[in-house]
Amino acid sequence: MSKARVMIVDDELDFARTLASRLQIRGYEAHVVESFDKTIEIAQELKPEVVLLDLRLPGISGVEILMTIRQFCPGTEVILLTGHLNLEQTIEGVRLDSFHFIMKPFDIAELVQKIDALRRTNV
């Protein structure tokens, strides 16, 4: 089984690119998208298996992005990466049945484990 295609959506480019490098070292095909406008377009082109999504992007709420990704890329799993998770967002996430999240900062091994687990369930 080849390594998964992962798309990182985060406006913090320094973080996103470093994370992408580390995932690439571990054999993942990792792409960085820094703004939401391009997210759907690139997602439809790349067809990533997992999207790592920062819940707080400028100009739009993470929950909205989550719903849009669900709509346009039905097979794609989303893991929320966030430095801040308040209760409303948690409840909203649970309601959208996409409650996978890792709080920043995290251990890369934890993330890799989660990505692989999601991919296995999807396959």
């Binding site: 490098s21 070292i25 430095g83 801040h84 709080m103 920043k104 900062p105 890369i108």
Partner: protein, 569 residues
């Protein structure tokens, strides 16, 4: 007595004071009026008497029948006037006086009658004298006639002058005449004597009439005088009475007014003083008013009002005190909530750069692992471990802070406290085993299920039991006890036989970022978060510690959930 009755009585007294003199005056005035009638009657009689006297003078002057007739008419009018006097006036004058008066009048009339009779007799006598003279003249001889004519002249003188000189001259002349001359001559002389005696009689009656008339006049005058004096006395008395009653009205009225006014004003002053004391917040006074019924019942109502005011004020004071307490709690809760928000914001802002550091260090490590021939690999590895270790420490702080802010939200559910404690022990299995700690559970079997935020209560137990494990040395003893208290509370005691907490430390243990653990081991947020959660859930936490003996945390949890509005705060 009530004010209304007092005023009525005062008014009645006034009325009486005015009525009594009025009645007296009325009586006096009617007496005066009664007395005026006899005065009028006396006046009438006086007038009538004056008429009589005038006619009397006329008659006495003229001595003719016309004036006599007029005179008599006046007398009868006077008599009629006296007879017409009303019996009550007669009584007023006095029966004795009246009859005396009548007797006087009768006497007067008698005298007048006598005078009239005399007057008639005179006329007849003069006529017969003249007749006799004339017949004697014819019968006398020539030589005697001369002397007789002289006598006749003296006869005329007698009739005109009526005096003693005339009759004596007549007698003297008659004596000179021879008695035999005429048989009728002595008769003539005796008639002349009779005339003279009539004249004499008239002279005697005249002053008597005048005297009687004067007496009558004096009598009526005196009567009139007496009546006038009586009336004067009555009027004076009436005036005095009026003056007296005026003074009485003024003096008694003033006394009554002053007493009445002070009887009403004094209790009102008392009431005013009482009200002022109430206004100043002195509720200890009692108003005691006797007298006017309206005012005493007002005093009663005011006393009741004071009692109620006292109660109300004290309950208000209590309410304000409670409110202050509640306000303090609210402020405290608000402080915690904003602290939570700030903590969350700070944590989030730190987490993002922390993630970058973490990933960069991670990438460095990845790269280090991919370079097997790098000579300083162990040194670099140590450096990277240091960076990642620090990031992990930071992360534990920020995650706690985020957890704290999240813990300010409450989800109520029904759960068994004993089960939750067992679960918590289970979570901490690793740590407990690592230190070979002995956990003793004394859980009350009759413990009711409680309604609260299970996860947060569990977080509290987790913090406290983990602290106990950390605080005790190897193979330390930790005891968890649950007890059902009376008033709807359940108590959980978590005790350890660790070193205990010194007193100066004990008072700071619930403050944020306060820790006694060595650097890097504790965040200083555990007990702060615990305290904040318990406050939010209306639980009470207390701590007892003795250096060298150990520490016990006691938590009282209400069986029923805190009320919604209190939680929302």
């Amino acid at each position: 007595m009530n004010i209304r009755r007092k005023l009525l009585i005062a008014f009645s007294i006034y009325l009486l004071l005015a009525l009594i003199p009025a009645a007296f005056s009325y009586r006096e005035l009617s007496a005066v009026r009664k007395r005026l009638k006899p005065v009028e009657a006396a006046g009438d009689i006086t007038n009538s008497l004056l008429e009589v006297r005038k006619n009397e003078r006329n008659f006495l002057l003229l001595k003719d029948s016309d004036s006599l007739q007029l005179f008599r008419k006046q007398i009868s009018m006077l008599k009629g006037g006296i007879d017409d006097i009303e019996p009550d006036i007669v009584k007023e004058i006095g029966e004795k006086n009246y009859s005396l008066f009548r007797a006087m009048i009768s006497r007067y009339e008698e005298l007048v009658q006598k005078l009239a009779d005399n007057f008639n007799a005179q006329q007849k006598t003069v006529a017969s004298l003249t007749e006799l003279g004339r017949s004697i003249e014819h019968k006398l001889p020539e030589k005697e006639i001369q002397t007789f004519l002289v006598l006749r002249r003296y006869e005329k003188n007698l009739i005109i002058y009526r005096d003693e000189a005339s009759i004596s001259t007549f007698r003297h002349t008659y004596a000179r005449i021879k008695p035999s001359s005429a048989a009728e001559l002595p008769i003539y002389a005796s008639v002349a004597e009779k005339l003279y005696s009539l004249y004499d009689e008239e002279k005697a009656i005249d002053p008597e009439i005048k005297k009687t008339a004067a007496e009558i006049k004096t009598f009526t005058d005196s009567l009139l005088q007496v009546e006038r004096e009586d009336i004067d006395a009555l009027l004076a008395m009436s005036m005095n009475l009026l003056l007296l009653s005026l003074i009485a009205v003024i003096v008694i009225g003033a006394i009554i007014n002053i007493r009445l006014a002070s009887g009403i004003a004094a209790p009102i002053r008392q009431i005013r003083k009482f009200a002022e004391q109430l206004a100043e917040g002195d509720y200890s006074q009692t108003l005691d008013i006797t007298g006017a019924k309206e005012l005493s019942s007002l005093a009663e109502v005011l006393n009741q009002m004071a009692v109620r005011m006292k109660d109300t004020v004290s309950s208000l004071e209590l309410a304000i005190k409670n409110l202050h307490g509640k306000q303090g709690q609210l402020v405290e809760a608000e402080k915690l909530a904003s602290l939570g928000r700030i903590a969350a914001g700070v944590a989030h802002e730190i987490n993002n750069p922390l993630a970058i550091i973490n990933e960069k260090a991670g990438l460095m490590q990845d790269m280090l692992e991919l370079s097997p021939h790098f000579s300083q690999k162990p040194d670099f590895q140590a450096l990277i471990d240091g960076i990642i270790g620090s990031v992990t420490r930071c992360r534990s702080i920020t995650h706690r802070l985020l957890g704290f802010s999240r813990k300010m939200e409450i989800t109520i559910e029904l759960f068994n406290l004993n089960d939750t404690i067992r679960e918590t022990i289970d979570f901490l299995k690793k740590e407990i085993q690592a230190k070979s700690s002995h956990i003793e559970l004394n859980l009350a079997e009759d413990l009711p299920n409680i309604k609260s935020d299970k996860l947060q209560v569990q977080q509290v137990f987790l913090n406290l039991i983990k602290n106990a494990v950390d605080a005790t040395p190897e193979a330390g003893q930790i005891t968890v006890t649950t007890t059902r208290l009376d008033d709807g509370l359940v108590r959980v005691n978590i005790s350890d036989n660790g070193p205990g907490i010194p007193k100066d430390v004990l008072k700071h243990i619930f403050e944020p970022f306060f820790t006694t653990k060595e650097r890097g081991k504790g965040t200083g947020l555990g007990l702060f978060v615990t305290h904040a959660i318990l406050k939010k859930l209306k639980c009470n936490i207390s701590v007892q510690s003795e250096v060298g003996r150990g520490t016990t945390f006691s938590i009282d949890i209400p069986v029923n959930p805190p009320r919604a509005e209190e939680v929302a705060a």
